[in-house]
């Protein structure tokens, strides 16, 4: 059943069919061949895949990213980073990573971060001589940090499915998220130096004042969004809408780089990209639903439980399982289906369910940019116009870095739990 389904998906993806078509065709065939629920359930699951408040952060943050680009907010922020850290090898790459991490603190959706950072940083990375593959790999993989650093849609869903405290999961994600970011930064810097990428101008205090002057309004945007979230003015999902509104106001009235016509054009582009991302999310939801009613994840997990593993062996096989699942499912549906099944086994082996939630999240985050399938890959392709082949090759080194981070996070539960233990 799942093998046949997988074959249809892979074949259609390989010949270049739209991803949502590949997923829906496979689901339809599975439902037609196997005696299952009535076909009207297709409508219900497609609709259900879109009918979630938390998904609003996708259109909002995509729109905000678009506005940051067209209004010159992004340019000024990047210029500031270059003025401050220009001499550091790979400074621009690290700035892109920093941009992703920064967006990660206000946004729980990776696809939106890839779109926003990609739209703003990719041209500059190319200009600085990073090359297509390195630039696109960096952007697609940095987006993964977004669902590890709070707030995170994936963790909210894990908390609901596994009955774990969402705030504790959020706190537990901070150090692992920063660990990934740190390893990535070291690698970017190291490889930039190794490959002799040109670095920027040396630090000059005289250049800092004008850079700050021209970027204060741009700088106030992340500050305003973070302040809004942490004072409860708006929820993390609503923050995307505020970011878009704030960006529009700066572009229209402060920098005067944006016209009303330009605003509408940006909205059209954001709406179109949202649409391309979300039909895939909905279609992936249908596939996970078909797998669930056919009992596939349940059977997989029963097999895992029967093997009588040690906690470490269990965690490692879960890592492999999740990385593989990340190839076909989107993280949200994977978590809803797998968490209730995996968590009891983990707990019975003495694994902390919060630590386990972080491990699951990091896994699925990596799955979003590992070939062949991953929403970050597709968004990068669509926003940056880079070929799939270049993206596949571009993400590989970053995959290795993040898998190393995953190994650390899996082996050392303290990385996830120390902030929590420090609190209590």
């Amino acid at each position: 059943m799942s093998a046949a389904l997988g074959l249809v998906v892979v074949t259609l993806l390989a010949i270049g069919a739209p991803i949502f078509v590949a997923l829906l065709a496979a689901a339809a065939i599975a439902l037609l061949i196997f005696d299952g629920p009535p076909l009207i359930a297709l409508q219900q699951t497609i609709f259900g895949g879109l009918d979630a408040y938390a998904l609003l952060s996708v259109p909002f943050f995509v729109f905000a990213g678009e506005l940051m680009a067209v209004s010159g907010i992004a340019d000024r922020l990047i210029a500031l980073v270059r003025t401050l850290f220009g001499r550091v090898p790979g400074s621009l790459g690290v700035a892109a990573l920093g941009g992703s991490t920064m967006i990660g603190t206000v946004c729980g959706s990776s696809a939106a971060a890839v779109a926003a950072v990609g739209r703003n940083m990719y041209p500059q990375l190319i200009e600085a001589g990073y090359g297509r593959r390195r630039a696109v790999g960096l952007i697609a993989s940095s987006g993964a940090i977004d669902i590890v650093i709070p707030p995170s849609i994936a963790m909210i869903l894990y908390g609901m499915a596994a009955e774990q405290s969402i705030p504790r999961l959020f706190i537990a994600g901070i150090i692992p998220g920063l660990t990934i970011a740190l390893l990535m930064a070291l690698f970017i810097s190291y490889s930039a130096k190794r490959d002799g990428l040109p670095s920027g101008a040396a630090f000059r205090l005289a250049a800092v004042i004008p850079a700050l002057k021209s970027s204060w309004a741009a700088l106030s945007m992340p500050v305003a969004v973070l302040t809004g979230i942490y004072t409860g003015f708006f929820s993390p999902t609503e923050a995307g809408g505020f970011a878009a509104a704030y960006g529009a106001v700066i572009g229209l009235f402060i920098y005067r780089t944006l016209t009303f016509k330009g605003l509408v054009e940006a909205a059209v582009r954001a709406a179109m990209l949202t649409s391309r991302i979300m039909v895939v999310v909905a279609a992936a939801g249908v596939i996970s639903w078909v797998l669930t009613v056919e009992g596939v994840p349940q059977a997989l997990i029963a097999a895992t439980a029967d093997a009588g593993m040690s906690p470490l062996a269990f965690l490692l096989s879960v890592n492999l399982l999740l990385l593989a699942i990340g190839c076909v499912l989107d993280p949200t549906s994977a978590i809803l289906v797998l968490a209730p099944l995996l968590v009891p086994i983990a707990v019975s082996l003495g694994i902390d369910p919060i630590h386990f939630g972080v491990v699951m999240t990091v896994n699925l985050a990596i799955g979003m940019f590992t070939p062949p399938f991953g929403i970050n890959i597709f968004v990068a392709q669509s926003v940056l116009g880079v070929s799939t082949g270049d993206i596949y090759r571009g993400v590989l080194p970053f995959m290795a870095v993040q898998i190393a981070a995953l190994a650390l996070i899996t082996l050392f539960p303290a990385l996830s739990l120390m902030l929590l233990n420090g609190m209590s």
Partner: protein, 172 residues
């Protein structure tokens, strides 16, 4: 001779529809941002509660997504893996595109058909949304309209490609 002006007229009409639909989607997204801001301001200040704002936002997003999916199908800009396409010759690429269009046409028609079936039944039951008591037919119809639209524009693209292919092979 009368065929040319008709074709040109249809062409212009199509461009107009696409343009207006795109702008409507953009304005729709801007509207969602405004509702989102108004909702949060009302809640935080305690001045007013926009009961049902979440339904407007989510159902609005679903409509934007599905209408946008029709436009993306027309532009052939849906997310996909374009490895094979780039490796093939022009001729091979065209053949592959025909195959992809056929699969898309069948899948979208299949979904649209069962979606319509669902919508008829949900209309009969008269189910409404929780807060605003909107008939659930309204948001659910977005899925039908989206897939029917994708099927329609894909059929048009397929016809155009086929006629181009035949006229070329007739010429050579």
């Amino acid at each position: 001779m009368t065929a040319m002006p008709t074709a040109r007229l249809l062409d212009r009409l199509e461009r107009l529809v696409v343009r207006w639909l795109s702008v409507a989607l953009g304005l729709g997204l801007i509207l969602l941002v405004l509702v989102n801001v108004a909702n949060a301001v009302g809640r935080y200040s305690g001045w007013y509660a926009m009961t049902g704002a979440d339904e407007v936002l989510v159902y609005g997003m679903i409509w934007i997504v599905m209408l946008g999916a029709i436009l993306a199908a027309r532009e052939r800009s849906h997310l996909s893996i374009n490895l094979l396409q780039q490796a093939l010759s022009v001729r091979g690429g065209q053949a592959l595109q025909l195959l992809i269009d056929l699969v898309t046409l069948f899948s979208a028609t299949f979904i649209a058909y069962h979606s319509l079936n669902f919508i008829e039944r949900i209309a009969m039951i008269g189910q409404t949304s929780m807060a605003l008591r909107i008939p659930m037919v309204v948001p659910h119809s977005a899925i039908f309209v989206g897939f029917a639209g994708i099927a329609f524009v894909t059929a048009l693209l397929l016809l155009a490609d086929l006629s181009r292919l035949f006229s070329r092979s007739a010429r050579s």
